[in-house]
């Protein structure tokens, strides 16, 4: 079976800080990582390949530096990695990004028919969760989002447990299909030493806008219907009352609890038999 994994190199947003003086992002020294959800998507593809036989192809869109993320991904045992990189791709929103990835996936599909496309449920630098479904629509594949377990797979269908509002759902889709992956889907592996050595010298294939039949009106800034009109620091709630509990914790806590009940922030209701109603 042929599994394609869409993978994005992202800044580790948990390391991004705001400069309190200028209210701008401090992006210097922020490490680049494989989008965590994509790492789980890759892991699942590799597991299924090991079980079913076949191949795992990684495709990523990004600047030339994203090669590092692809090498890292190769060290986990993928078979092929392709980086879509072109200045014309820059500034793409999720609609244009899905278009760019789709055209590449169609080429891969024409070479070796794909059974499943895996993506992370979202990227941590954008949190939109739109690129995966966008690719599925353009490819005409059914989509199963927020996957937490692949229950069954055969040559014609896949059954996935997925997270949804208020619970989990078991859904079956005919292949080829696209699955977006939650972290719960699997535990990430560690790369083996031989795989790391092999990956260190691996050169990902580089495809630019000219290597594929791209319509330039659909990619980059031109192909992006959404644009940022303003950015600003998140609104702060005005801080309320500060209670110092460093010297007299007991008094401070008694003082707070008194206020909490006086202001009806917490109210006491008669106990109902059998506990909280």
């Amino acid at each position: 079976m042929h599994f394609v994994v869409c993978l994005k190199q992202v800044p580790d947003t948990s390391e991004v800080r705001i400069d309190p003086n200028t209210n701008t992002l401090m992006r210097e020294g922020v490490p680049s990582i494989i989008n965590p959800y994509d790492a789980h998507a890759l892991e699942e593809a590799i597991r299924l390949r090991d079980k079913m036989g076949g191949k795992v192809t990684i495709v990523s869109m990004g600047p030339p530096q994203a090669k590092e993320a692809l090498r890292k991904a190769m060290s986990f045992g993928a078979d092929r990695a392709i980086l879509l990189t072109d200045r014309g791709f820059a500034g793409s929103d999720s609609l244009a990004t899905a278009y760019i990835l789709t055209v590449a996936i169609q080429k891969i599909h024409a070479e070796e028919p794909i059974d499943i496309v895996f993506t992370g449920k979202e990227a941590i630098d954008g949190d939109t969760a739109q690129t995966g479904p966008g690719i599925a629509q353009r490819l005409g594949f059914p989509q199963l989002t927020y996957g937490i377990r692949v229950r069954e797979i055969d040559n014609t269908s896949v059954t996935v447990e997925r997270k949804t509002e208020g619970g989990r759902e078991v859904a079956k889709a005919l292949l080829p299909a696209l699955i977006t992956v939650e972290k719960e889907m699997n535990e990430l592996r560690y790369a083996t030493l031989p795989d790391m050595m092999k990956a260190a010298v691996y050169e990902p294939e580089m495809w630019d806008a000219k290597s594929l039949p791209y319509d330039t009106a659909e990619m980059g800034l031109k192909g992006s219907p959404t644009s940022v009109s303003r950015i600003f620091p998140p609104p702060g709630r005005s801080g309320g009352e500060r209670i110092d509990a460093t010297t007299d914790p007991k008094g401070a806590v008694a003082n707070l609890v008194e206020k909490v009940f006086q202001e009806n922030i917490i109210m006491v209701h008669p106990a109902v038999k059998g506990g909280r109603a």
């Binding site: 609609l95 859904a171 219907p225 909490v260």
Partner: protein, 439 residues
């Protein structure tokens, strides 16, 4: 001389690249870069930059203009009003961006009502409340869209919550949510009736089907909005959402394609009043997709465990951050939660440390909560966490760092050692509540 890019401020959005009339700007490695040979210093890029990263240098080479232009070299400051010339430019520029909302082709604000497994997602009604405000500013209709099976009671509710008109597709293939028939149903209605704005909750379903619909319509979609507004001049929908992991807020526009689409975080917009007995026009359409054409089947629905369902509906939440230092200290906060009958929650850090499961995580990548009382224990208050809880009615925070971000949103901030404060709080609450329960 040419425009100067402050690379520390540039967010690589590309607004300037699109704007530049002489194509002197380009994005290189994610930041705007100027070709000095092409730049004519029109200044148009300066006005569109959302991050104030661009500025015009003083034209030192033109001595006659030196004095008059001295101000232009100054750091661009968002707090200062824009120079008049720039304001005028912004106006003429805004007029260019057609089509604007309120036109006669694309008209109306639509709310997609989420109804699945017999449950209406409350965010649907929150959006009818918010949609009313947007429709009033634009001066257009507010409509609800209901796609599902056996939905007559949902139609009544949509009118009660303020819809003027309800579009309905009622068909057995829509009984359980599946992307293909839902995307087909919504896309078909949009193509036929051409609303200018469509909104849906940023739930698992909204975030699944809306990207599919937007892709079919080749229009823009902004995910997870927390603030919506209408630009008074262009009538464009201003879609504001946290970006870069919640470190900044970004206002997004979809200038030239329709409809403008957003998913909106649940529990951010206020629930409107329900008025029994309201009614309006019902427009029924047929589902065009048959069961044989649908390639997905829902085999089973497993309702979630009480805790994960309960979190976003909890009245009182006790949440814990990495300040708790170790998993073995968790009983401390569990006792506090028990004393109040509260639900336990945590930050992303605690989940990543493996101390609590993701079901309990509040914030950007977890659940958004809006309880009556949110007690934050040892939580520093990273913005990713704050966006998930700052609309709580009352926030009480315990932290030993006077600079902790959580204090900026807390109604009561207790500065102290949580290992001293929490047991005292538990004891006080127990004492007060010995003859009753809290809510």
């Amino acid at each position: 001389m040419s425009v100067v890019v402050d690379k520390t401020k540039c967010i690589g959005c590309g607004a300037c690249v699109v704007e530049c009339p002489v194509e002197a700007l380009d994005l290189v490695d994610g930041t705007a870069t100027v070709d000095p040979a092409k730049c004519k210093e029109t200044g148009s890029c300066v006005t569109v930059c959302p991050a104030n990263a661009l500025s015009l240098e003083a034209k030192a080479a033109a001595p006659a203009a030196k004095k008059a232009d001295a101000g232009a070299a100054k750091e661009f400051n968002a707090k200062e009003p824009l120079p008049k010339a720039v304001q005028d430019y912004a106006k003429t520029n805004a007029a260019k961006s057609a089509p604007v909302a309120g036109g006669d082709v694309w008209s109306g604000v639509w709310i997609i009502v989420e109804y699945n497994h017999g449950r209406i997602a409350p965010v649907s009604w929150e959006l009818l409340g918010e949609g009313r405000k947007l429709a009033d500013v634009i001066g257009c209709e507010l409509c609800a869209v209901i796609t599902g099976y056996q939905v007559d009671h949902v139609i009544r509710e949509a009118f009660a919550y303020g819809a003027e008109k309800v579009y309905v597709i009622d068909d057995p293939v829509l009984e359980n949510f599946r992307t293909e028939p839902y995307a087909e149903a919504i896309t078909g209605l949009v193509r036929k009736y051409q609303p200018e704005i469509i909104l849906m909750g940023a739930t698992a379903i909204g975030r699944d089907v809306f990207p599919a619909v937007a892709t079919r319509l080749r229009t823009g979609l902004t995910a997870d909005c927390t603030v919506l507004g209408i630009d008074p001049e262009t009538k464009l929908l201003q879609q504001t959402r946290p970006a870069f992991g919640g470190n900044i807020m970004a206002t997004i526009l979809c200038r030239s394609r329709r409809p403008q689409m957003s998913t909106v975080r649940p529990r951010v917009m206020a629930m409107p009043a329900r008025v029994e007995g309201r009614s309006g026009e019902i427009v029924r359409e047929q589902q065009s997709m048959t069961e044989d054409e649908i390639r997905t089947k829902v085999l089973e629905f497993i309702p979630g465990d009480a805790k994960s369902i309960f979190l976003d509906k909890a009245e009182i939440i006790v949440a814990v951050g990495l300040g708790i230092a170790s998993q073995k200290n968790l009983p401390l906060v569990e006792e506090l939660a028990d004393s109040l009958g509260a639900t336990l929650a945590c930050t992303r850090g605690v989940v990543e440390a493996g101390w609590m499961s993701h079901d309990h995580q509040v914030g950007q990548t977890g659940v958004t909560v809006r309880p009556k009382v949110y007690i934050a224990i040892g939580i520093s208050g990273a913005i990713q966490h704050l966006v998930g809880m700052e609309t709580s009615d009352y926030i009480i925070a315990v932290n030993n760092d006077p600079e902790a971000g959580i204090f900026r949103v807390a109604n009561y901030g207790i500065l102290g050692d949580l290992f001293q404060v929490v047991p005292l709080l538990t004891a006080e609450f127990k004492k007060r509540l010995q003859h009753g329960v809290a809510n």
